[in-house]
């Protein structure tokens, strides 16, 4: 009975999230545009999760794991579909420069931070824990939130170019995040006793088999969809079937559904003939997938153990604020350094330029993929950190408003 009520509640929330009232609220309330519907579902997930009301305890969470796996794979496909030769060719040198800067600095930060935390967490197996934590921190550090509409109302050419760069950069870095985090998960994993094992060869072997299996599915799906591209029902069937198979393959080889989805999406996306029906179907469900991932993230996350005491809570809060502040300072700095030669064509003072200071929502999805595979509870706590940092980074972005007075008429934005 409780299960039934919970499912009804989730269903109602999804329905309300897609209703006209919600659309109206998004248009009229600025905070709704910034935060989006995902955060409400995350809060609901925390409320019904095992750490609050406990409606969804461990046993019930196991029952819904297949749905979660499919959602993660779906998110991977959405990212993978961005891997198109045409899109990559269209990326200007300035963006390549910016993305490379961000990636390198974030990776250095991830390796250092991963090393420090691994030293404290599992001193006996530093290599394995280091790899796993580097992946986690890389997911936290790389990339940014692609949404910039809520931050800028300017519609002059320079501002629009800035917004386009922000969005494209977030897309490229999303691919990098998934690949790096999934490789870390593949090479360093936890055994059934909770020990972190570093098995690069086993991991690479599993990855090779996983990639082979996914390519077989992707090529088969592509071949079938070439014939049925006009038929929505068959597209739906192939997508749902492939999603299920890809999730299963990811689990069979100890990998992440995000990576299998990404490879599938890239294989489909890189084909010469575009499969518009498939792309439309996959992207049309993107808000639902995001909402679902946020809801499950809310249920899965656990507040850091240290936050049980006042001093510990203060320490956690300080770390979160410090990381969000570091983001607020470093990301715009990197952007300015990378885009300085193009200052004439890109508006570095527009509202969109503040978008990189906000953490990418993908981080939460990547850490959710980590958390469901982790038995030690560390990944669940890191997920809570990611959520807190995301919220803090949004707050930091909103507080010091850059002069962005040139407002555009409603509907004139890209």
């Amino acid at each position: 009975m409780t299960n039934a009520l919970i499912w009804l509640a989730i269903g109602s929330i999804i329905l309300v999230a897609g209703s006209r009232w919600m659309q109206r609220a998004r248009r009229t309330i600025p905070a709704m545009r910034v935060l989006g519907g995902g955060w409400a579902l995350l809060a609901f997930g925390i409320l019904v999760g095992p750490h609050a009301l406990g409606v969804f305890d461990g046993g019930r969470l196991v029952q819904v794991q297949p749905i979660l796996l499919i959602l993660l794979t779906w998110a991977g496909i959405v990212i993978g579909l961005q891997c198109r030769v045409r899109l990559f060719r269209a990326i200007p040198p300035a963006l390549w420069r910016w993305v490379s800067f961000d990636l390198c600095v974030s990776l250095v930060f991830a390796i250092v931070a991963g090393g420090v935390v691994a030293r404290m967490w599992q001193p006996d197996s530093p290599a394995a824990a280091h790899i796993l934590l580097t992946g986690t921190f890389a997911a936290l550090a790389i990339g940014w939130n692609p949404e910039s509409r809520s931050l800028s109302r300017r519609n002059d050419a320079r501002a629009l170019r800035m917004a386009a760069l922000v969005q494209a950069g977030a897309g490229v870095l999303a691919v990098c995040t998934v690949v790096i985090a999934s490789l870390a998960l593949q090479c360093a994993f936890q055994d059934s006793y909770g020990n972190v094992i570093f098995a690069p060869w086993g991991g690479m072997l599993a990855l090779a088999m996983e990639v082979g299996a996914v390519c077989v599915v992707a090529l088969g799906a592509r071949e079938i969809l070439r014939d049925t591209r006009e038929d929505d029902a068959r597209t739906t069937l192939i997508v749902i079937g492939a999603l299920c198979i890809l999730s299963g393959i990811a689990v069979s080889f100890g990998g992440s559904g995000l990576l299998t989805g990404l490879i599938f999406g890239a294989t489909i996306g890189l084909s010469r003939r575009r499969l518009r029906a498939l792309e439309h179907f996959i992207s049309s469900a993107e808000p639902i997938v995001a909402s679902g991932c946020f809801f499950f993230a809310g249920m899965t996350l656990a507040l850091p153990e240290a936050s049980g005491t006042l001093l510990g809570a203060l320490a956690v809060g300080a770390i979160v604020l410090m990381l969000a502040l570091a983001r607020r300072v470093l990301k715009p700095l990197l952007m300015t350094l990378a885009l300085a030669p193009d200052r004439a064509t890109v508006a570095l003072d527009s509202g969109a330029a503040r978008a990189p200071a906000r953490q990418a929502p993908l981080t939460i999805v990547v850490l959710l993929a980590f958390a469901i595979q982790d038995t030690s509870g560390l990944a669940e706590q890191l997920l809570a950190f990611a959520v807190l940092i995301s919220l803090a980074s949004v707050a930091f972005t909103l507080l010091p408003r850059i002069n962005d007075n040139a407002t555009a008429p409603r509907g004139a934005l890209p």
Partner: protein, 446 residues
């Protein structure tokens, strides 16, 4: 070029990929699943996951959806309906066939894994009900009411009398024969709607078959409940048959009708994410039916019909999305039905099963042909109407299961139910083939 002509051209041209491609794709899919499992369990040193059960469920669901679709396409190459391919695919990967052949380890789906697909099956039943309900056009029903009633009544009468007599003579006592005969009169709304959806432009004949099947099934669910109650009263074995009648018929229809009102209100407010709306409504019906112990198919069917009748414009996008999801749903439903086939029961009682199924077939032919003549249907329809009422599937199996519930601990129940399931299985396999032939032989011009 008109839509019908275009459809004919497309049908004659056929799909672009060949049987070889489909066979290779199917083999690759099954091979992939087997390899993924074997490599995972045998190769030492590769990462393991803490989600084996969840991974198995999704892997199997993917296999069932894609595999049964490919199998369906493959059998179309030999002019059989896709449902037959889906049923056979389910049979091949399911535990029933391999257990009967004494090789249970070869089954890709174990009985416990099959049980884990129960939720997906229930959702499939609901989706089929929603689409079937939405396909019934009240104007069409009013226009053809006489033919529908005559076809339903004619068949039920002939099947009931003939099958009851033969069953009584061959094996069963009179009450058991009456239960069996009532069940024999049911057919499959799911198969009808699946074959109807397969046609791009359903013919009048196809719509007539679907309307008659749905009407007949609704009446027979009531009749079956009354029969069960009467037998239970005479043998004083069962105590809750009335309860069952009220819940299964009045409850199912009532819930279906009541849900149509909030659905209309919700659909007025929601424009986006229709797939989520359809899935939420499907899950809601499954949950409500689980809680109230009502029949999901009848509830969904009533909801589909009522919603389409009271709000044809508002619900258009909802039903278009439901139809879009119908193909994967059918694949799951029919492959699962194939996986559930109990080959042991089928072959254990094969002489009786063959005799009773032949009698039913003959009775369906006689009843439908006589009724079609009485209704003044065109000659082609008179000739082929019977073939549309041979298939049996979900609702028949659900009613057979009710016998065990209504008569707990009775010695004769096991034998009766086994023979019932074996006969349904046989009709499940040959029914879609016959129905497809009938749909092809009766063109729209008639």
């Amino acid at each position: 070029m008109s839509a019908g002509a275009l459809d004919r051209v497309k049908r004659t041209r056929g799909p672009r990929f060949r049987a070889t491609f489909l066979a290779i794709a199917l083999a690759c899919l099954v091979g992939l699943i087997v390899l993924a499992r074997e490599l995972h369990s045998t190769v030492v040193g590769i990462p393991t996951s803490d989600l084996p059960a969840a991974g198995e469920t999704t892997l199997l669901l993917g296999l069932v959806i894609l595999g049964s679709w490919l199998a369906g396409r493959l059998v179309r190459k030999i002019s059989l309906p896709p449902i037959t391919g889906q049923l056979f695919f389910g049979l091949l990967i399911g535990p029933g066939l391999w257990a009967w052949l004494d090789r249970p380890q070869l089954a890709l789906i174990t009985p416990s894994q099959l049980a884990s697909l129960h939720g997906a099956e229930l959702l499939a039943v609901v989706m089929i009900g929603l689409v079937a309900g939405s396909e019934i056009d009240s104007a069409f029903v009013r226009e053809r009411l006489r033919a529908i009633v005559l076809l339903a009544v004619g068949q039920v009468a002939v099947i009931f009398v003939t099958v009851a007599c033969v069953a009584h003579l061959l094996i069963f006592s009179l009450p058991q024969a009456v239960i069996f005969a009532t069940l024999a009169a049911t057919c499959s709304s799911a198969v009808s709607v699946a074959l109807l959806r397969e046609m791009r432009h359903p013919t009048t004949f196809a719509r007539l078959l679907l309307s008659t099947t749905v009407t007949k099934d609704l009446v027979l669910v009531v009749a079956f409940s009354i029969v069960l109650f009467t037998v239970a009263a005479t043998t004083s074995a069962g105590g809750h048959a009335w309860y069952w009648i009220i819940l299964h018929v009045a409850g199912s229809v009532g819930i279906g009708c009541l849900l149509a009102i909030p659905l209309r209100m919700v659909l007025r407010q929601i424009e986006e994410r229709m797939i989520a709306v359809v899935l939420v409504v499907g899950v809601l019906i499954v949950i409500l039916c689980e809680i109230t112990d009502t029949a999901p198919l009848i509830t969904a069917l009533t909801l589909g019909y009522t919603a389409r009748t009271i709000a044809p414009l508002t619900s258009a996008s909802f039903f278009a999305t439901a139809r879009r999801l119908f193909l994967p749903v059918c694949c799951v439903f029919f492959a699962a039905a194939g996986a559930h086939i109990d080959c042991g029961a089928l072959f254990l009682h094969w002489p009786v099963v063959l005799a009773l199924s032949s009698t039913r077939l003959a009775a369906v032919w006689a009843g439908a042909t006589l009724a079609a003549r009485a209704a003044g249907l065109p000659r082609a329809m008179q000739r082929w109407a019977w073939a549309g009422f041979v298939p049996q599937a979900g609702i028949s199996l659900a009613l057979a299961a009710q016998v065990s519930i209504a008569f707990p601990g009775q010695a004769w129940v096991r034998g009766l139910v086994s023979i019932m399931i074996a006969c349904i299985t046989l009709n499940e396999i040959i029914g879609p083939i016959l129905m497809r032939i009938a749909l092809r032989r009766v063109p729209e011009s008639t």
